[in-house]
């Protein structure tokens, strides 16, 4: 028999109303969008909000381009990230990562805002958000603010969001034409929580040499780890597979790996090495091809 603890329920017609309802609901009130992160925990009695504020009508699920940014409503679903032409064109890593989330039901319901706000260590979109230097826009009792993605998650299932503060939008700098990116993850089984993730992007200069490189490792710690410094030695160089393998090995040797019930630290370190290497090299090849994706 499955049921969560009882709770009060209200639907918000706008972000503002949602914030008001959450404030009113007290410290144990929680927002719900797709529910794919929160509800399983509630059913297993690992979480017991006193109130749920339903965000499904709070805003339109829009994907748009504004200047140099891809602007996503927090309510955009993973499946829409996967299929949206705008996302595929302007932030292909996001589409690639969204396609690897869970199963069809999770992807049809889960939202980017919900995923980021939950602070799950293995959340693919969190890793991508950090890799893409996304800005998370929020609305709370104190007003609006912008949070760099790298500062969002602060602990295990813990974000820097204040009580009653909601993610309303995610803004991502548009990928350039000489940029290639790749998101990879390995889980024990398809759709399972990842054991390790790697998000890599490289930008090539006119001379074909590496102008910029970003690498983020996800799922091995309580938050995505920006290890782009480890790729610094690639800057100004022509990208080769051996050079990238060296970077990956160095990154994997240094990165902090947390404990996991079903995989040893050593194995996750090995996976990190493999994924960083493969993601970087794929990103490099995609950049060289001149298109975002092969």
């Amino acid at each position: 028999m499955y049921s969560s603890e009882p709770f009060d329920y209200a639907r918000a017609g706008s972000w503002e109303e949602a914030v008001r309802l959450l404030e009113h609901g007290g410290e144990d009130a929680r927002p719900i969008a797709g529910g794919q992160s929160l509800v399983p925990m509630m059913m297993l009695r690992l979480a017991a909000p006193s109130m749920l504020v339903d965000l499904c009508d709070a805003a339109e699920r829009t994907v748009s381009v504004s200047g140099e940014e891809l602007v996503l409503s927090a309510l955009v679903r993973h499946a829409d990230l996967e299929s949206s032409e705008a996302v595929r064109d302007h932030c292909p890593m996001l589409a690639e990562a969204a396609s690897q989330i869970g199963n069809v039901r999770v992807r049809r319901r889960g939202t980017i805002g919900g995923s980021l706000a939950h602070g799950e260590p293995t959340a693919e979109l969190a890793t991508v958000a950090v890799a893409q230097r996304a800005i998370v826009r929020t609305l709370g009792p104190a007003g609006e603010r912008s949070i760099p993605a790298g500062e969002l998650i602060v602990g295990h299932l813990t974000t820097c969001l204040e009580p009653a503060e909601l993610i309303t939008e995610v803004r991502i700098p548009i990928s350039g034409s000489r940029q290639g990116s790749c998101f990879l993850e390995i889980a024990r089984r398809a759709g399972d929580f990842a054991l390790a993730e790697a998000a890599a992007s490289v930008t090539l200069g006119d001379d074909g040499r590496c102008e910029a490189a970003r690498v983020v490792v996800g799922a091995v710690s309580h938050r995505p780890l920006d290890v782009s410094e480890g790729a610094a030695r690639l800057l100004g160089e022509v990208l080769t597979e051996p050079a990238i393998r060296e970077v990956a090995a160095a990154v994997a040797a240094e990165v902090q790996i947390g404990p996991h019930t079903h995989a040893s630290e050593e194995y996750r370190r090995t996976l990190t090495n493999v994924l960083v290497s493969r993601a970087l090299w794929t990103a490099a090849r995609r950049a060289m091809n001149g298109s975002g994706l092969p």
């Binding site: 028999m1 297993l44 194995y267 090995t270 493999v274």
Partner: protein, 779 residues
């Protein structure tokens, strides 16, 4: 003990062509239960309710070893809506008598509710019935148990030591089986090569999609009735004993199961529902959560198998010495039979004149282990097939050739001294499985390597012959010529009920759409024994065949008179009886017969062959027959991550005769899928007896993308002992998967794993270890 039904067997053997003709056509229409399944209208155990129904919950201990100091149920009883809170003191007879082997092994009484000792994490200690599920959960949380934690033992090798904590007063060694033939020590000394290795298999869960569930009530005749998802309606007797009721006052109805695989072979919800019904005199429903099921319902025995195989230079086996330790968990359940099956099947489909096998069931403070598809005889396939590959490797022989030089044949003796008395089709299965794979595929991307492997097996079908197994059936014809079959089989989803309709239909000429099969009711259907041991087709199929033939014989005299012909000229088909250009409907025949006082129904029993087994000497008859097969696989291994992707998989078994080949294929594919999960990913992990996870998300059964299309091949080579020469197919395909994949992985990347599951991490670690060794050697 009655002689086996020779007439049935002889007909099958003498007229295989006619049998094939009879079976040649497709079933006329889809069987009703399958139609109901695709429509969603088939009522499973939890799809029933009754007015005034209460909801029952089991309260479980969460320590692996403890003494119960006290239980206080007052707060629980005070919750609004609660009708009953029961503990051990409230159980009239607090014992599930583990009937053990049928060979005089000491029985250990397992409590229905723990009384003074807790022996495994998840053991039931109390029951609650309440008006709502929420109230039941609330009350369950308020049952206050004071435990004194005790030392426990969690590994069988530890449990065998003299200083180990005793799970039961009699010690941790529950039963030992020994069989030997010839002089294994002398033969081993004479061998050119002795290969020794220890293989380890893991604890796994049945993970059927339908959780344990049922509902109980007292009917208008005062009969305690349970409608539950169960493989065995005969548990009605055990329920009666527990409640100290006459057996005639308990009835078990088996709903169609959403999977069983042996997980619903022992009782699950039955005793708990019954107790709550009897206490409250209200209908009580109980459904276990998935997490509860993963925690506390019995699992497959982990085995440690030490194999020593002596061979000549040409690869022929001269000696086999096998020692198996099986973890029985905290209570015996069917452990003695599982370890028996392991012992007598430990040498596989290979000739050996000098062999010794020993298997031991050992108690530990872990979740009890019991029946699961394959039942001991599947774990050993990993042992004996891995040995064969090792032998081939060390002698630089082709692994298929090594098998060919050793395969058993009809007439060869097993380690128990009994002779195989049906044809052996394993070599053709092996040839066919390998041929079906075709040319070796190439790696799909850099960093991966492709490999090919195969494995052979034999798996018994039918229960051990010293059990005097029997099954009964009733078949009758209605006035309109429709047919009713009553047989106490339970349906796991493999078409158990449908098969009976097909068999009877072939004999009596009634089509499937005019046949109703009533199954699984201990009050109203003749008992057939449970659906397990791949016995149902063999037992109830033969019972239905026997009864159908008897009914036909009874009616032939009447029909012959009506049609003015010889009985031999009669043809029963398409709901009519024909002879010499004339015909009548089955309905007309039934009415005419009844009018003459020849009642158009028969009830009878099929007795399986029996035999004796001597526990002391380990000699005698074990199983009635075996199904032989071989699987072959191509895999692609990622050299850096250890991930294994199966590119192609073929599973080939000699099924004797296929009543319905599509159903046979479905069984092969389904069992192989479970075997693949067992080989690569499934594991119930316990740390000091405590489950590290009870989430279904973390119990890794294969999903669609984890499996290739499994090419199932059912060959009809040598008739078996099932109806019309069929051999059981439910269990056999689960065995060869792990060794076939182990061989394929070794072929791909050069590492041989001897422990299951062969997870990516284990493959990767083996590869890394090998690389490190090679570097040290090369440097």
């Amino acid at each position: 003990m009655a002689a086996p039904d020779r007439a049935v067997l002889e007909t099958a053997v003498e007229a295989p062509e006619r049998a094939l003709d009879e079976l040649g056509r497709e079933p006329a229409a889809h069987h009703r239960d399958f139609v109901e399944k695709v429509c969603g209208t088939l009522p499973y155990a939890d799809d029933w309710g009754l007015p005034g129904m209460l909801h029952g919950v089991v309260v479980r201990a969460r320590l692996p070893s403890a003494r119960i100091v006290s239980i206080d149920v007052r707060a629980a009883r005070a919750v609004e809506g609660v009708h009953a809170v029961m503990t051990a003191a409230d159980v009239p007879y607090n014992g599930i008598l583990d009937e053990a082997s049928g060979l005089g092994v000491d029985a250990i009484v397992q409590p229905v509710l723990a009384e003074d000792r807790v022996r495994y994490d998840g053991e039931p200690v109390a029951l609650v019935a309440a008006e709502t599920p929420q109230a039941a959960l609330e009350a369950a949380a308020l049952v206050d148990v004071d435990y004194e934690e005790l030392p426990g033992v969690f590994e069988p090798e530890q449990a065998l030591r003299d200083d180990a904590p005793a799970v039961h007063p009699g010690g941790n060694r529950y039963v030992t089986w020994r069989s030997s033939i010839g002089d294994v020590d002398a033969a081993m000394r004479s061998a050119d090569l002795v290969v020794e290795e220890t293989y380890r298999t893991q604890r796994v869960d049945h993970a059927y999609l339908e959780p344990e569930a049922g509902i109980g009530w007292i009917d208008s005749d005062g009969v305690l009735t349970l409608r539950v998802s169960t493989q065995v309606i005969e548990h009605a007797r055990e329920v009666a004993e527990i409640l100290r009721l006459p057996h005639s006052r308990v009835r078990v109805i088996a709903s169609y199961m959403g999977g069983g695989f042996g997980g619903k072979e022992d009782m699950t919800v039955e005793p708990f529902i019954a107790l709550l019904v009897w206490r409250t005199r209200r209908p009580v429903r109980m459904v276990w959560t998935r997490q509860e099921s993963l925690l506390a319902r019995h699992k497959r025995h982990p085995f440690t198998m030490r194999y020593r195989t002596g061979v000549r230079r040409d690869g022929t086996i001269v000696a086999q010495d096998v020692r198996i330790i099986g973890d029985a968990g905290a209570y015996p359940l069917l452990s003695s039979r599982v370890l028996f099956a392991a012992a007598v099947n430990a040498t596989g489909p290979y000739r050996v004149a000098d062999a010794r096998v020993e298997s031991v069931a050992v108690f530990t403070n872990t979740v009890p282990t019991s029946a699961f598809r394959g039942f001991g005889a599947m774990q050993v396939v990993f042992g004996y097939e891995s040995q064969m590959d090792r032998i081939a490797q060390l002698l630089e022989l082709d692994p298929a050739e090594v098998r060919r030089r050793n395969f058993v044949a009809r007439g060869d003796l097993r380690v128990t001294g009994e002779a195989l008395d049906t044809g052996v089709g394993v070599e053709e299965c092996m040839r066919r499985a390998l041929a079906e794979l075709g040319p070796r595929p190439r790696p799909s991307r850099p960093g991966t390597r492709v490999g090919r492997g195969f494995a052979c097996s034999m798996q018994p079908y039918g229960r051990s012959v010293f059990f005097a197994d029997r099954a009964s059936a009733w078949i009758g014809l209605e006035h309109d010529g429709t047919m009713v079959i009553r047989a106490g089989v339970t349906d796991l989803g493999a078409g158990q009920a449908a098969s009976l309709a097909d068999i009877a239909g072939e004999v009596l000429g009634v089509t499937a759409d005019r046949t109703t099969v009533h199954i699984g009711d201990s009050a109203l259907t003749p008992l057939t024994g449970g659906t397990f041991a791949t016995r149902q087709l063999y037992m109830s199929g033969n019972a239905v065949l026997k009864v159908a033939r008897a009914l036909r014989a009874k009616l032939e005299a009447v029909a012959a008179a009506l049609l003015e012909c010889d009985p031999e000229a009669l043809e029963f088909s398409d709901n009519r009886v024909r002879a010499g250009g004339r015909s009548i409907t089955i309905g007309e025949l039934a009415r005419a017969a009844e009018h003459q006082g020849v009642m158009p129904y028969v009830h009878d029993t099929f007795e399986a062959e029996t035999g004796e087994f001597d526990r002391e000497t380990g000699r005698g008859r074990s199983f009635p027959d075996y199904t032989y097969g071989a699987h072959a696989a191509d895999v692609e291994v990622d050299e850096l991550t250890g991930q294994v992707r199966i590119l192609a998989y073929v599973a080939c078994h000699d099924v004797g005769r296929a009543i319905d080949m599509r159903r046979v294929e479905g069984q092969i594919q389904g069992a192989a899928a479970q075997g693949i999960g067992y080989a690569l990913s499934e594991q119930v992990e316990l740390v000091d007896g405590v489950a590290s996870s009870t989430l279904f998300a973390e119990y890794l059964i294969p999903v669609s993308v984890d499996l290739p299309d499994i090419r199932a091949i059912g060959l009809e080579l040598h008739p078996g002992k099932g109806p019309l020469g069929a051999r059981g197919i439910g269990e056999p395909p689960i065995g060869p998967c792990a060794p076939a994949l182990a061989a394929a992985i070794e072929d791909a990347v050069g590492v041989r794993l001897v422990q299951l599951p062969m997870t990516p991490e284990r493959v990767q670690r083996a590869l890394a270890d090998t690389r490190a060794r090679d570097e040290r050697a090369g440097a």
